[in-house]
Symmetry: none
Subunit: 184 residues, 4 copies
DNA sequence: TCATAAGCGAGACGGTACGTCGTGTCTTACG
DNA sequence: CGTAAGACACGACGTACCGTCTCGCTTATGA
């Protein structure tokens, strides 16, 4: 997936226009015009507008952050929460724009899940494993069904509610909900 | 917001085609043709395709369900959770389609919030109030910031993750997370 | 064909809008709106836009002028020529607007001919008859095929050429062309 | 004004449909459909229906005929008259359709004048000049104001009267009116 | 005096053309 | 050969107009 400079430029322009106009408002003509490229140059790489947009979205959003290692589960969760907050605050519009296409295109949907969900899942797993290793919580206490409650609710707030969570929200969520549910 | 029969018919057709073709695939011409209506008849009421779709979505989704009164907070929450599950399972595609427009149109955004969020908020408030009146939980235990954690996470699962929650998920969420956070 | 006041008002408005916007640019809605009338009120009297326009045209254009009796054929012809000049100068736009419809509607075509052509034909006939009676020209010299050469050319200039004839044109036509062709 | 093949094809189809349905009955969609062309392809060249129709009319009508050189003014005039008769007989409906637009569009009006009038004017001038050179008429006898009396009256008959002139009419006009006015 | 009707203003409606614009394909000419 | 430029077929969008229709309101006559 090594991008040429040209490809990265096209994706960057696409992402920018996507944030500006939304999925419907984005036009391939405008992407090409701004890049001083031919439409054929765009379509040669991404055969539909939807794939172009998804590629731009993935390129722009996925920053492979390392899982935190603060030595405390609470601190780790808060770091993750704040990170998700910042990310979703920045990319909420883009995510909304892309979501509409996800329903109808299995490839897009899968790519999106892999890029966004799996990355976060790995991070959460590692943090919990560290906490178990440290003896902070018992292994059985972590319900695998709800591992993404923290990022999930934060994303819901930003993307669906259009009311992004604050640092206060993150702390309330971790202290009053997540932690009590583990060390019950 | 009293709908005439004609309006309801148009919205019903729109919702049906929306679920069938998605937002992009839906055409106002087809809506009009199926309803044996003129395009002008549609555009007179909803001046753009986006507003038509949002109206159809709201009409289709907002079934003013009464808050449950099972006599137990746990049962009430599970009823609500199952209801949200069923609703989102049915309308996830439509919600994704509509979300893209929400970014760009404050009126749509507000309408969506009022219709969907406020309705749920009222339901949750009433259920908690009943529980407080019964002495199940103390008033201070209910953090108003997180009142929508239950529906929010369920919606996240359906809309963003495309992996709708099950009845098991709802029960785990209520028993292992929500309730412990209240009676801590 | 006794017009009520309401009918005359509608036709006057129609004629005015016809001159302003042309046939295509004229809308029945606008006629009705200006007259504070319902469209049904218009359509009850003239079942199509074309018939409304033709009626307005006839009403507005046909002024039944009396044939001149100056005692001299030359003077009579010049009076007629000047009259036609004035009429066509005023109604050229309207005539152009109406002509397009004439091709396609036999009734309109016939009505237009009767109103405009026959009226002039009668006038010319009478003038020539008077000249014959006075002995100015011999009966055989008047070629019935070309009786409308004078008004015809003047109308051509105004309607087709968009270059209305002047009083000088009329005199040249009468003195240098029409009269020489008669008293040859 | 070099037309591509595509453009000529579109204009030919337009002219054909124009004669078939008239101006109002002609639709750009049908032109495009018959030509297997996109509407955008039509509108790229002629930005409105009116301009398309005028272009088709000019293309169809302006056959750059050479001025006749029969060696006799009378014969030259009759050739021209018969030519105008044939042309107007064929294109009367189209001319009527186009005239309505002429009022409202100076560019169209000018184009029409240049294409149709100037062409004929050149022809008449040349024919008269030849006659003067031959000594048939004296230079002063040709009144420049009325040079278009012959074609003008013939066009009037076809377009306004809807009663096209015959070969007999042409001969009467030339022999009894035009020539007498010159050699008076 | 009142009701039954007839005409009216207002404007929604079905149908359909207009002119615009975006997608994805394709051609041409340049480097 | 890849590219920039942009024409092209297709088809949806949103607007506007025609001619029909329904709805109340007014007025005008006849019982």
């Amino acid at each position: 997936m090594a991008r040429t400079e040209r490809e990265s430029e096209l994706l960057a322009i696409t992402l920018q226009l996507l944030q500006k106009h939304g999925y419907e408002g984005l036009t391939v003509d405008e992407v090409a015009a701004i890049a001083h490229a031919s439409k054929a140059t765009v379509y040669r790489r991404w055969p539909t507008k939807a794939e172009l947009v998804l590629a731009a979205f993935i390129e722009g959003v996925s920053e492979d952050a390392e899982p935190p290692e603060t030595g405390s589960l609470r601190e780790d969760l808060i770091v993750i929460g704040d990170l998700v907050c910042a990310q979703t605050r920045q990319h909420a519009g883009t995510m909304r724009a892309v979501l509409g296409e996800v329903s109808r295109n299995a490839a897009l949907s899968e790519a999106m899940q892999r890029q966004l969900v799996d990355q976060r899942r790995r991070m959460m797993r590692k943090v919990f494993k560290q906490a178990i290793d440290r003896g902070e919580v018992r292994a059985g206490d972590v319900d695998s069904e709800l591992w993404d409650l923290l990022p999930g609710y934060l994303i819901f707030r930003a993307v669906v509610q259009n009311r992004p969570a604050t640092r206060r929200t993150v702390r309330a969520l971790v202290d009053d909900v997540i932690l009590p549910s583990l060390i019950r």
